[in-house]
């Protein structure tokens, strides 16, 4: 650590106006003088003055002076040793708190859609950015002592920090992410608290508000934490996975943080493979039913999980999983079908399938075969060929068997269809013939016959005598009975 020629210009100590003061040269070889340190504290206090950036024309000079001062502070801290004496800590944390802990403004756009709209950026960023920078340098300083800092960086501090993660400004969240990551790393006493608060934020997000801008950043931090879990995994962590991370998949805005979420899930499984079954069952339970974009994400996550899965775990979930995959390949949305079919391009997944081909092929076969004839998208049809061919080569006799039984089943269905058509045709004939019978009875003269062959009304219109009413009632009953019988048969056919 070389000492540079650092100057802190002493400034006028009035509250309102800033004027650059005299520059003081520092002797290169000497340690920081107490004068320097005092100046340091004074500058920190000066920076507690806040300016209104929504007013784009006011106080421009003062804003610039503060910005320069903040810059100086950052440089001073970064390049000197021995800055962090004990009494500097409260001044530093106070300056930081004053500047960044604020109520976030309500969004300009009440219907802000994070995926579509441009975010509202923080107006005071020119200052706030430097304050964040300063905080980061503070935490990463080689002289930093958590035992002193913890008096000031406490739960209240962390709580306020967490609230800021809801900022719409991605630059702010990026800083916060790194800062919280460092705090988690250095303050062991705060770890449980941080985890619990993140928990609360997520649960509130999932079940109450469905709004929070910082989910991705928090998940990224969690990823690095999960990566560092000791084995065996604590029950608390497993609960977090099942009760928070899995339900997090149901959020509408999943696309904003899915990559980070999937990373967390996979990290968990790499730590403890026995979690595979509950995880996959959880994902299957929450499988998207109407949102194709989400379905594609889920499929991507499943592939990531399969990439690291142990063969013994695979056996446990293969049946329910491939039942879902079979549905996906038949999905009329081409992106869903494509993504599912592309699994067969993954060597490791292929090896897992091959080992368990006798269970998997029957599940996949009929969907694939059916959709090869019916899907509208030509790319999909070509992919299905690849998949069928690959499966065929894994177990030829089984494939032959399934082909034969599929064809036999199709034959049976066709025959049933024909039988059903035949029945309806007979029914129609029956109605027509009975209708003409009634008309014959009631009029006696063929000339007066009303050649009304409509199914519904022909009986009602021509009635005149009560005996006819009786006859008709009987006939109607018979017809009704026939119809019910046929309906019952149809239903049982369908079953």
């Amino acid at each position: 650590t070389n000492q540079c020629d650092i100057k802190l210009s002493s400034s006028n100590l009035t509250h309102v106006k800033w004027t650059p003061g005299k520059n003081l040269q520092v002797d290169l070889s000497s340690d920081l003088t107490s004068f320097q340190q005092e100046l340091f504290c004074q500058k920190l206090q000066q920076c507690c003055t806040l300016f209104d950036f929504l007013d784009s024309v006011g106080d421009l000079k003062s804003k610039e002076v503060k910005r320069a001062a903040l810059n100086e502070l950052v440089d001073y801290l970064s390049t000197n040793r021995g800055v962090l004496v004990e009494n500097a800590y409260p001044e530093i944390t106070n300056m930081i708190s004053t500047n960044i802990f604020r109520a976030l403004p309500p969004s300009d756009n009440p219907d802000f859609d994070p995926e579509e709209d441009e975010p509202t950026l923080e107006a005071a960023w020119p200052h706030i950015q430097l304050v964040y920078e300063f905080l980061l340098r503070f935490l990463e300083n080689p002289d930093f002592q958590p035992s002193i800092a913890k008096r000031y960086i406490d739960q209240k501090f962390v709580l306020q920090l967490l609230e800021l993660f809801d900022s719409e400004d991605p630059r702010e969240r990026d800083f916060l992410k790194t800062i919280l990551h460092r705090i988690y790393g250095k303050f062991l006493g705060l770890r449980a608290f941080i985890r619990k608060q993140i928990n609360n934020i997520f649960l509130k997000f999932i079940y109450e508000t469905e709004h929070f801008n910082g989910v991705a950043e928090l998940l990224e931090i969690l990823g690095s934490i999960i990566n560092g879990f000791a084995l065996p995994l604590k029950a608390e962590h497993k609960q977090f996975l099942m009760k928070v991370l899995i339900p997090l998949h149901t959020a509408k805005a999943l696309s904003l943080f899915h990559a980070q979420l999937a990373y967390c899930v996979v990290q968990f499984l790499e730590k403890d493979p026995t979690l595979t079954e509950p995880v996959i069952r959880g994902l299957l339970k929450f499988w998207p039913k109407t949102c194709s974009q989400k379905e594609v994400m889920f499929l991507g996550e499943i592939e990531e999980i399969l990439d690291v899965i142990e063969p013994s775990q695979f056996k446990k979930i293969q049946e329910p999983l491939f039942k879902q995959i079979a549905k996906c390949v038949s999905n009329p949305h081409f992106q869903v079908a494509e993504r599912a079919l592309y699994f067969w391009n993954n060597e490791y997944i292929l090896s897992l399938i091959e080992e368990n081909i006798d269970k998997i092929l029957p599940i996949m076969f009929s969907s694939l075969y059916k959709i090869s004839k019916e899907h509208w998208n030509q790319t999909i049809v070509a992919l299905i060929y690849n998949v069928l061919k690959t499966l065929m080569e894994m177990n030829c006799p089984l494939f032959d068997e399934l082909t034969a039984s599929y064809k036999a089943q199709k034959q049976r269905e066709m025959m049933k269809e024909q039988e059903r058509d035949e029945l309806w045709r007979k029914l129609e004939e029956l109605q027509v013939s009975r209708a003409s019978e009634i008309q014959n009875n009631s009029h006696g003269s063929p000339a007066a016959l009303n050649n009304n062959n409509s199914n519904n009304n022909n009986n009602n219109e021509t009635l005149e005598s009560s005996s006819d009413v009786e006859d008709t009632a009987v006939i109607m009953e018979d017809l009704h009975q026939d119809a019910t019988d046929i309906a019952c048969e149809s239903v049982s056919c369908a079953k």
Partner: protein, 328 residues
């Protein structure tokens, strides 16, 4: 069809089958060939591809068998370069399908080429078809092992109708298909190959009375014992290989996986390298149970945060949310 007419038809086909045998010398050349020429392996792989296509497009086994017959005869007659093999085989399939399948079930040439992932055009295919037709003087369906198989099956059933359920023609067809995927069987006389398959199946069903019928057929056609025995052995071996879990993994050309642009983008973007370094969990650092308010003293600088507010204690999940997610 009554038994007598069937036997007569059998004879007729038996007499014609020699016309449809591929030249033995030509087959031998293929079997002994090395790289740079069409080898037995490449022929077998091509036939397997033909089967995949047949199955995929819902063509009948007949189309497949006819195609293989055309292919073998052509390859045994002409010296074909390996790069043209797929074109030849696809044109054989297209020709065979045209005389076998219904008009409405025919797959157009360019779809055939696209799915088969071939590099030539539909007009190339058309020209090759003409060449094949010309060289083989192709007019109508060949007499193949399938012809005999179907006849044998019918004959057997007329003599043993109660066996209708057990002797499955479909199964026999599948087994024939398995044999045709190996060039060794192209040398066999179709009548003999079919009979060997029939007997193999009857043996596995352990039906003495059906085997009796097969003897009857053999005597009727005067098929020598030695020939039948030879091919029965080959068939048995092939079928046991076919059914074994270790299916031969042909290292033929890899399949192309073409996806839409959007899916391709999706595939490449999702694996992101995390930027934040791992934070190892200490074994002693954090409180085990959130309910405990005890300070866990440690050897290092850090100890539990001194300002324990109400948030550090209490249940892990806040009560009002706990109810909600339990119900979810």
């Amino acid at each position: 069809m009554d038994a007598v007419r069937l036997m007569k038809e059998l004879r007729v086909n038996y007499e014609q089958e020699v016309d449809f045998l591929p030249r033995e010398a030509g087959l031998d050349l293929i079997v002994s060939a090395h790289g740079g020429q069409i080898t037995a392996r490449s022929r077998d792989v091509t036939v397997e591809d033909l089967w995949s296509l047949t199955s995929f497009f819902g063509y009948s086994t007949q189309s497949f068998v006819q195609a293989v017959s055309l292919l073998d005869r052509f390859l045994a007659m002409m010296r074909v370069q390996p790069k043209h093999l797929s074109c030849v085989s696809l044109s054989c399939l297209h020709l065979a399908a045209r005389v076998t399948e219904e008009e409405c079930d025919l797959t157009p040439a360019d779809e055939l080429i696209r799915i088969g992932q071939c590099r030539f055009t539909a007009s190339d295919l058309g020209r090759m078809e003409k060449i094949v037709t010309e060289k083989l003087r192709f007019k109508s369906k060949a007499v193949t092992a399938l012809t005999f198989l179907q006849l044998y099956h019918q004959i057997t059933l007329t003599h043993a109708t109660y066996r209708k359920e057990t002797l499955s023609l479909e199964k026999l067809e599948a087994q024939l298909k398995a044999c045709l995927c190996r060039i060794a069987f192209s040398k066999a006389k179709p009548s003999v190959l079919a009979l060997a398959l029939l007997r193999q199946e009857m043996k596995s069903l352990q039906s003495e009375d059906m085997l009796e019928i097969s003897f009857h057929i053999q005597r009727h056609l005067k098929i020598p014992d030695a020939e039948l025995q030879l091919w029965s052995e080959w068939v048995a071996r092939r079928l046991s290989d076919y059914a074994s879990p270790k299916c031969s993994k042909p290292n033929h050309r890899k399949l192309q996986w073409i996806v839409s642009r959007r899916t391709a983008q999706n595939l490449h973007s999702h694996r992101s390298v995390p930027e934040l370094p791992t934070i190892p969990e200490g074994c002693w650092d954090e409180s085990e149970s959130e309910d405990s308010g005890e300070d866990v003293m440690s050897s290092g600088d850090e100890s539990l945060c001194s300002s324990l507010g109400s948030d550090a204690e209490g249940p892990f999940f806040p009560l009002h949310l706990r109810r909600q997610y339990l119900a979810a």
